[in-house]
């Protein structure tokens, strides 16, 4: 289904209607992807690369469904969102009903391994493995198996104030950054190929006790990866 190109502002307005998690669990690193980052990710996937409109999309670790619903809003043919947290998936379903997109999004409560199909596009904001080591690798491995192309958010490897300042001044525009040697090797070992990496500022509200500041800002790297399918 071809739709008119959705303006970024309309996309952001839509994404703001998607409720975040009411009681996130620190051990699962459950923070909802910020509206800014979600919009940038969806913009690149959809408008730059043509990987959303009319495509089948999988959101691994979908939480309350911001990326999945964003993809449906932009015109994805069919979207599946999966998350191990039953409560988050319940909120995701409510979000899809409220935005009238329930027919095009299917939610599953479960581990990412319960999905066994192939999708055109995988969008994911996996746990970064800060609280639980290596959690992001499982997601990446699964994404490379399940998707022809993968959009995956990862922690920027170092604190880079200069880059942070440039991104802050860049009005939310992403900047091409280099890929981490570790992720490059990991992706190649699993049959994928990194097509591009973009640094974006993620700002999330204070949620967990170990977050000392009221608003927490950090750089995330959006990896665009060709899967092995």
């Amino acid at each position: 289904m071809q739709k008119r190109i959705v303006r970024r502002l309309d996309l952001e307005r839509f994404l703001s209607q998607v409720e975040p998690h009411p009681s996130p669990d620190p051990s699962l690193e459950q923070y909802t992807v910020s509206i800014d980052v979600a919009a940038t990710m969806l913009h690149i996937a959809s408008h730059v690369n043509g990987d959303v409109v009319g495509k089948t999309v999988l959101d691994l670790g979908c939480g309350t469904g911001r990326l999945a619903l964003g993809a449906a809003f932009l015109g994805a043919k069919q979207v599946v969102g999966v998350d191990i947290d039953k409560m988050a998936v319940g909120v995701a379903l409510k979000n899809s009903l409220r935005t009238g997109l329930e027919k095009r999004v299917q939610w599953v409560a479960g581990d990412i391994d319960v999905l066994c199909g192939v999708f055109d596009t995988v969008l994911q904001n996996p746990p970064f493995g800060v609280q639980r080591r290596k959690a992001d690798r499982r997601f990446l491995e699964k994404a490379l198996k399940a998707g022809k192309v993968v959009y995956s958010l990862h922690k920027h490897p170092v604190a880079d104030e200069t880059l942070m300042n440039r991104l802050r001044n860049g009005k939310g525009n992403p900047e091409a950054v280099s890929s981490s040697p570790f992720l490059t090797r990991f992706v190649e070992e699993h049959g994928g190929k990194i097509m591009g990496v973009y640094g974006i500022v993620m700002a999330i509200p204070h949620m967990f006790n170990f977050h000392k500041k009221r608003r927490h800002e950090f750089i995330v790297d959006l990896y665009v990866i060709q899967g092995r399918r």
């Binding site: 379903l93 409560a109 479960g110 999905l115």
Partner: protein, 90 residues
């Protein structure tokens, strides 16, 4: 259904039993024919959780509610819980 595998033994395809259907399947049961695990579909959401995240006090009442429509094998030998023997270690 064509995209779901059993989270425990990765078996595919799984069996679907529909209990209540509107535009979507509202309530139903997904069964892994290999390990006999059953997973509820509640409020349109398939709950394919691993055993350690299952809650007996939520899942058994669901099985009870639909026991007329649940296959006998699942009622007696299903995992992780059955109506007859309660929790089962596997």
């Amino acid at each position: 259904m064509e995209i779901l595998a059993c989270p425990i033994d990765k078996h595919h395809p799984l069996e679907l039993h529909v209990f209540e259907e509107k535009e979507e399947i509202v309530e139903g049961l997904i069964v892994c024919p290999k390990c006999l695990r059953w997973y509820p579909i509640r409020d349109e959401i398939p709950e394919m959780l691993p055993d350690n995240l299952r809650k007996e006090n939520e899942d058994l009442p669901f099985l009870k509610k639909w026991k007329e429509k649940v296959p006998e094998e699942i009622l007696s030998k299903g995992k992780p819980f059955t109506l007859k023997t309660g929790p089962k270690k596997s």
